[in-house]
Symmetry: C4
Subunit: 262 residues, 4 copies
């Protein structure tokens, strides 16, 4: 009788802990899970991330959940590393695992942007110079059509003054998401960028061409003449027709090996 | 009897579809086919293309046909992907396969330039800055002798105003081909380049040295002094003696593996 | 009897030789040894060193000893190449092996900085331009927080006038260590840098991000606008929270192969 | 009788052909031959050459002979490709094989510079900008000590006016060799460089650090401040102590595989 009471109390404690944690939406679609692993590998292969940076996808069963690795370099991420979060960026289980401190970038964007199905945060090398320069990033190539209208820059000093520059709480994440507005990406001053889109191929593709476009613009400027940028209307027309089907086939096969389905 | 009529009607429909399509010139020379696959792999290996861009060759049996992959990243192209087109860029079979929307670049150049036997369209990274800059691309090195007289730039706004910037119809293709004139390559503003030549090794070689030459000119300019460019006469004398035999041997062996014939 | 005397005399000679040499602190901790090999490979893999440059670690059994390879390219270093030195950079055995002539960088820094547990000397390509420029290296990215307060530059002309520029004696090493002060790294004019830290992952990480940060600052400057650098306070707050756990896991696995412990 | 006469006449023709050709000095030292193959592979691996460029070594048995590959991309060169030349750059056998048209660079330098034991001609990408710029190449790093006194630039217009820019005859080769003087390398306007030294490791090392030094100087200039170059005396003191032993061990093992002797 006494033993039974103890067991009951212990169960209640566990349940209380479970109550504090959000409920899981259940398993992610296997195809989406495969693509999330692939996205992690691709952005490493394409030098969009080194050991740092992260990619998430909104859960196919519940728009109020997203899935992302625990704190691990994208190149090493496997299915066992994936964690499910609610939009406050609280994990549905295993809260003791080491997590990305900047997961709020993802959760707060998913809250404000129902159209966004995937998010990447990265520090790609050609983007950072534009985040600290008075010279705005613009589009010099078709591949960067989404840059033609310009991108906002998130200044964490506006959110928190002198900080460690990490978007490591909900307030900073919300400020960033608001500054993002309806754009495809936002630069982060002295830090990197956050890239959003309707699917994993889009955020991977945009992250790659954001970096490549920044590099090409820098080289165009270095020539010393005037630069003939894409117009905003050209950018809109390009993006209206854009998909990343052909590129995704290539990237996924290269990152996952030739046995990946074509 | 009724069944036989239905079968006949169905056959006629298929034949009508076939009639609307141009006739095939027959199989491509196997050596040319092998070189076309190699060219696809080489331009990927040398970072002239990523997932996008394409290479074609004029058919050895009929100057009014050319051969090019369906819409696939060059690095992944195999013999099964190759399609035969007439010079209006209509495929001789399988019109339902996903095709490069910019195939008109190839067809319209083949129409106007009987000397051209191969065409590459690419977005190589060091060329794009010159397509948007007021500073003209010129030759700083022997390897870029074909640049010594300067290259034209195609401005799609002259053809179609504000567009999605794709050369996705015959008119834009024709305008580009006319602007190309008798040159070896043409830059495309905010987009990339089209490179032509008398064989696949030439278009591959010119694509590579167009990109490398652009990079070296950019670095020469960044030094801040005056730049001593090749003269037009030097360029002509260089190109009169140019072949890509030694380079093609290397590129093909690296792209196709050591079993490729030397 | 005579023979025994000869043997005794020979033994004394050997002992005298041993007396001139410092005593060994004994075997290095196996985990530290493994990490030292890994650090050598990682800095080669990440292009921080080519054939030249070196990495050392303070001995875990004796703060007056450090361990470093004999004169060998870091990429090739194995356990058999490791030598133990006292802080005057005299080896505890095998003084006849070919040694890094600039080992005094390590020994003299270990003397002045008890907090330093590892040192790297390198010639990474993006750092050298800042060592010869009147434009100071600063922090443009979170990853370079330790650069926010600026780094000193060691000028060997102040130590030795016109030299062969090698820190190949104790005086030059001491001058460099004094100039380093309490910073994380010091540039060396016309030569490279010395990077210090509380562990091997720190010196490896700082060497990598020193190089990457220099490259990004150079590109930010090339844009031609004003540059918004990290503040000293941001740098301090970033570094207070910094570790290289996630990066070290990636680097070590890539450099040592997938069998390396995760 | 008549038949015998015909055979004799034919033999005389063959012998006359042989008389026109210089005599062979005999087989090259096997170690030197191995290093010559290695040098070819290393300069390809380190991006000093692509398909073009060449490396030669003076014959160990006769200072009036040198050994170099037939016309083949350095990365593919094997022992069967090696040809022996006299200092007029006439091959001792097989004159019908396809040869480097610019072999006169090598022969004429060996004539004028008895101290030179190996020569490389290359088009390395960071060197070409300095060959066409009014800004002189100088030394910004210890690794480029041989640049501290400056390098001459060969202008083929001074030798031949408007040419195809190839050093494809003895006169141009001699002019280049005279312009080289007693230096370690000479830039060639709009073309590349010729690098000389007392052994294969020296010419390989100087070719690599010539390219790396040019790149670093370009980046130092791009910072926009003043640049603190190495003094001529520093350069001389550095080079007096220079060897490439450690680098050669690394390069050879990487280029030839782990079975290469350490």
């Amino acid at each position: 009788m006494k033993n039974a009471f103890i067991v009951l109390a212990a169960s209640l404690c566990v349940m209380q802990g479970a109550q504090a944690q959000p409920a899981s939406a259940g398993p992610l679609d296997p195809k989406l899970l495969e693509d999330l692993i692939a996205a992690n590998r691709i952005i490493a292969m394409e030098n969009i991330v080194d050991a740092m940076g992260h990619v998430s996808v909104r859960h196919n069963r519940d728009p109020n959940r997203y899935v992302m690795s625990l704190a691990r370099a994208p190149e090493l991420v496997t299915a066992e590393d994936l964690m499910e979060y609610d939009l406050d960026s609280v994990p549905v289980r295993d809260p003791g695992r080491r997590q990305y401190s900047e997961r709020y970038i993802h959760g707060e964007i998913y809250k404000l942007r129902p159209d966004v199905m995937a998010v990447i945060h990265n520090h790609s090398p050609s983007v950072i110079p534009f985040g600290v320069s008075s010279v705005p990033l613009r589009a010099v190539a078709h591949s960067g059509g989404f840059l033609a209208e310009g991108l906002p820059i998130y200044e964490i000093r506006d959110s928190g003054g002198q900080t460690d520059m990490l978007v490591s709480n909900a307030k900073y994440g919300r400020d960033l998401a608001q500054k993002l507005g309806n754009k495809s990406a936002i630069l982060m001053r002295g830090h990197g960028a956050a890239v959003v889109g309707p699917s994993l191929p889009y955020v991977v593709g945009r992250s790659i061409y954001l970096d490549r476009g920044a590099k090409m613009q820098q080289e165009a400027i270095a020539l010393g003449g005037t630069v003939n940028y894409l117009s905003a209307e050209e950018g809109r027309k390009i993006e209206a027709r854009r998909d990343y089907i052909r590129a995704w086939e290539l990237w996924k096969r290269k990152a996952m090996g030739p046995t990946a389905p074509r």
